[in-house]
Symmetry: C2
Subunit: 667 residues, 2 copies
């Protein structure tokens, strides 16, 4: 693609290729797909003048020497398209090649020629091209092409000549041996990461193992977690995510509600990692043994679930790294290690790593080894704490290494920060990303944000994972909205996002007390103390959650985000949107009353033509939450939602309703 | 930008740079500006964590060894900006470098520290950073920084320490010696082409020299063109563009109205280039001598005009190239040269060049020499005929070579073809491009197309040149719309496009007869015959054209396209738009009645705040066509346009109207 040069390039490379999609920063980063996806690649391809072009998609698994080739078809306006199926997890590459095809041009013109003499001369030209193709062919094909050329030279009758020249079978042979000497190949080999299906569709449940004990007052363990698995599986989750499970530092340990000084019984924050018992590769002794951990991983599997671990790269002051690798920390002139701070705030219980250390290579290797250690114990999903406070080059290197060793590994970036930073992390290789959903409550905010997420440039690499709460975030909407607010935010998260999660049991038990007015921190947060949860409480949302997750599992429409489209409703408190599967067979329409306080009603507008619905026939809306079925007809239908009873419909839309026409005597 | 690698890269390069603008295909092609422009460059720059970033724009003229550096300022949301002035015609390059700046981070945190002990330790850390800066500095600066560091180490009083640490003057010195060891530089050096002002603002008049004779029946000459210069200058044009002026082929010459056989008196088409008298470097004998040509070029200059030549790379069968360079043509099996064709249509008077010739290098050199020949005769503007039927690599090479030799040269691409092809030619180096304006008549079409042209990605490289007619195109709007149609299309072209042109005298004399019904060809087209024009005819638009061009010359707002914004009018036949200069001092609002048959009226809506108009004061609309002045006030004002009298207003908007407040006794 450098400037054409009389010496080094061939000026006869006349085909031009531009604007390949998908393309993340012109191929600097990988687009993302899942196994089984048809990867559609498009490009603008054209040449000067009126000659015919041939375009071919080149694709391969990374490491394969040769390209697979798939012919591209023109879409009009110089856009070409082809697709290949990503059949296995791992990295692929693709690019496009194109050339001016003289045989195709000849054939195109030959079909339009009328003058007899003209046809005869054109037949001789064609014979020449076909003889060249014969030279490129071998065996039988060479013989067939040679004989075709000979006949084109011999026949004189214009009508016969035309029929012979346009022979489809011969043409098919000739097309297989194009002259590609002057083919242009787009110089950027675009990378593609193919993940397993859970990268696109997952339901997360976050839980503190130390609060999992059945009896009050006891420190919960991994064995207690194991006992909780059936209940979590019954709610329909497939990822059980545990905050850090490592030994917790004792120096400068925080007390309940983030008190500066901990009492002797305070368990400390699991994110203050490392103590005499070990660091990132060790288990907190009170949680159990590595055998218990392996049992938990295996048992989760039998319940259709996976364990996800939290990887938080920071140390308590008594983390063994501090003594073993002092060069990985920043030292202050007073001989102490620089703790985390954001002046005037200080976090003296946390030492960040010094990534500008002269031994950055040693640090990188060790941090990658932390992932490797837990991957060795069977963990394939990692939620990464604050990745945006570690250098981007580290993540690019580490995630590439780890995905090479464990192609099925998934990484969720917990980066609640500025948009460019979050996008960069997703580009660098994080599989899924936290979002701003937590703070998007109004209709226009949700429409704008989810349109950007699903249709903006990030759609190729940024997979949202939608959380209505986390141990750090109890939003004001939840604090003040009561039970309806919890239902609304759950339904939104689970139907707007194919990937979503909740932090429980705080969520299903409607925990809504903030530490201070105006704060988003939970009162008596599990981050600093052990909690006892009344899982059987009658107000628990667990049944509703089970229904929502079962709707997700049964409806492919809810298992990806690309199809999301918002539908008009004439009420700013009602949000309505549709999702469908790739074949548009499964269709889910969700209507949510965003107002947790008042009954709201309005007219929902469906684009029947786009949804493939017969405008003259009724269609059925089956509410997957309540089980109720509504017959709708025409594009506008009335909806009313009472937050106290059911603030949302999740409708499976069935296009055909039985009528007398379905009886065979009607035919 | 390659994957971070433990061996070859330094993992401590923590700054990230993305999305530099302007950027054409990620720097594969040059953005375009004119001399004197402030070239604003922006980029997303950020790093991990909370450290401070320093970003610098690097720019230079191509060929300069060292970069000039301009510090970038943050715009918010991780976007940074800086600009440099393009002070001369030629090629520039720019990129961005950024680094985590520990001194800036330290200073930022120091300002927020409150604790005394904390301040003292931070002062020691700062002293260390400042001592490092001192090592990078020399002379006096080193001394100053060293003494600053020493004082930071010595002072104990927190209040004094804080004042000392935040000293502005010392900080300014330290900032000049940043630690750039781990700076990231965006790897693509973006090219920029800086043209002279006429690239952005030009008024073209196209004329057939052979029709320029004052007396009927005589073949016009370059001397006759010279005599026409005052009249064309009086209309306000600054580019006089001549169709090909070379010897015209005699073999297969076309007759009047494109008749297959020419009569002995038929002069032939000027685009059938080459005969015994010479080819692309020769003058048609009847037009005059090379001395006449040089006189014309010089004389045009005295009238503030430039001569633009038409370069059409194709040959008549009797062009000397055919015998001298048979390898530049495609030969058919019957021993004849392949003529131009689009089966079943044949153009036997035209031989295209065979760009896949083995001697493509020789052909490229010769074609570039054609430009060089005329550049040697003082021509600096070329209108290139059908560039889209010659290979793109040829244009990239040729235009780069020619701009290197003649940086002031301008090239207009006459490519009426598909959008991608037109854009590619502009990217490859054409200065200006013909557009689809000719076929955009309805309000919504004009708004959509000109919004795309002025605000789409092409705005960085595709400079539209707007023509209401050409010798090939007499649109149906002009055929059926009468005089109002000619006025409307003229005003649209001249005010929507800073570059525009007309093919005259057909235009100003309202020539509107097509060769056949439904055709866009002129009856008795000058392409095939000599015409005599009655330049003094009372219906001539020449006075109106002079007024339009004078409005363009007097109003910087009309001399560029980037500011174009369409304004709402509640009538689909009325089109209204505003343009302003870079400083928003000069403001022109145009209102056009697109309906050539009926009086139309409506309410025009102005965004007063955006235009900087006091909503409580009247403002003056001075119609530069009629001279009338209207006092408007508020955002909505009434307009009525009678196509028979004046189908358009071109208003200079004067924000301030004199009132009693202007009298000094009012103060």
């Amino acid at each position: 693609m450098a400037d054409a040069d009389l010496q080094t390039n061939d000026g006869r490379m006349r085909a031009v290729i531009e604007r390949i999609t998908p393309s993340v920063d012109n191929g600097r980063f990988a687009a993302k797909r899942i196994v089984g996806d048809a990867v559609v690649v498009e490009a603008d391809c054209f040449t000067d003048g009126h000659d015919s072009l041939a375009c071919v998609l080149l694709w391969r698994r990374e490491g394969e020497a040769a390209w697979h080739e798939t012919p591209m078809a023109p879409l009009g306006n110089d856009r070409w398209s082809a697709s290949f199926v990503a059949q296995s997890v791992g990295r692929y590459q693709y690019t496009v090649t194109a050339w001016v095809d003289h045989f195709l041009s000849w054939r195109h013109d030959f079909a339009r020629r009328v003058d007899g003499e003209d046809l005869r001369i054109a037949a001789l030209v064609g014979a020449g091209l076909i003889e060249e193709a014969a030279q490129r062919a071998g065996g039988e094909d060479r013989t067939r092409l040679t004989s075709w050329a000979a006949r084109l030279r011999a026949v004189l009758d214009p009508q016969l000549l035309k029929t012979l020249g346009l022979d489809e079978e011969f043409a098919a042979v000739a097309k297989r041996y194009p002259d590609r000497r002057f083919a242009t190949t787009y110089p950027v080999e675009h990378p593609l990461v193919v993940d397993r299906a859970r990268a696109r569709f997952s339901s997360w449940y976050e839980m503190f193992p130390r609060s999992a004990a059945a009896e009050p007052g006891r420190h919960g363990s991994l064995r207690d977690c194991e006992a909780r698995l059936p209940g979590i599986a019954k709610m329909g989750f497939d990822v059980l995510y545990l905050p850090p499970i490592h030994p917790i530092g004792r120096i400068n340990r925080k007390g309940a509600n983030n008190a500066l000084a901990a009492g002797p019984a305070d368990p400390g924050s699991p994110w203050a990692i490392g103590a005499a018992e070990g660091g990132h590769k060790a288990l907190h002794p009170e949680l159990g043994t590595m055998d218990d951990f392996r049992r938990l991983v295996a048992s989760a599997k039998t319940h259709g679930m996976e364990i996800a671990l939290d990887i938080a790269f920071q140390c308590a002051p008594d983390h063994p790294y501090v003594k073993a690798h002092p060069q990985w920390f920043r030292w202050r002139p007073d001989g102490t290690v620089q703790y985390a701070e954001n002046p005037p705030k200080k976090y003296q219980d946390i030492y960040p790593f010094e990534f500008e250390s002269d031994d950055w290579r040693g640090l990188w290797q060790e941090l990658a080894d932390v992932f490797r250690f837990w991957a060795g114990e069977g963990v394939r999903i990692f939620r990464v704490d604050n990745p945006h406070t570690k250098p981007f080059p580290f993540w690019e290197w580490a995630l590439a290494e780890l995905k090479r060793e464990y192609p099925e590994a998934l990484f969720l970036a917990e980066a609640f920060t500025r948009p460019r930073v979050m996008h960069r992390l997703a580009k660098l290789g994080f599989t899924q990303s936290y979002t701003y959903f937590t703070w998007r409550n109004a209709k226009h905010e949700l429409i704008e944000y989810f349109t950007e997420l699903t249709q903006g440039p990030g759609r190729e690499y940024f997979r949202p994972n939608i959380w209505p709460n986390t141990p750090d975030i109890l939003t004001e909407y939840l604090q003040f909205g009561g039970r309806p607010a919890f239902v609304v935010r759950l339904v939104l998260a689970a139907t707007l996002g194919a990937n979503y999660g909740i932090y429980g049991p705080a969520y299903e038990l409607l925990e809504a007390e903030p530490r201070d007015p105006g704060s988003e921190e939970y009162l008596n947060s599990e981050k600093y103390q052990i909690r006892q949860w009344d899982l059987g409480a009658p107000h628990s949302l667990s049944d509703l959650i089970a229904r929502v997750n079962s709707a997700r599992r049964d409806n492919p429409a809810l298992q990806s985000d690309a199809s999301l489209r918002f539908l008009p409703v004439d009420n700013d408190s009602l949000l309505c949107y549709a999702k469908s599967d790739a074949e548009q067979e499964n269709l889910v329409v969700t209507v949510v009353n965003l107002d947790p306080h008042h009954v709201q009603s309005g007219w929902v507008e469906l684009d029947l033509a786009a949804l493939g619905i017969d405008a003259h026939m009724p269609y059925q809306m089956h509410d997957l939450l309540s089980g109720a079925r509504f017959l709708w007809s025409g594009p506008r239908n009335f909806v009313q939602l009472d937050p106290q009873r059911a603030p949302a419909h999740v409708f499976a839309l069935r296009r055909k309703v039985r009528t007398e026409r379905n009886f065979d005597y009607f035919l």
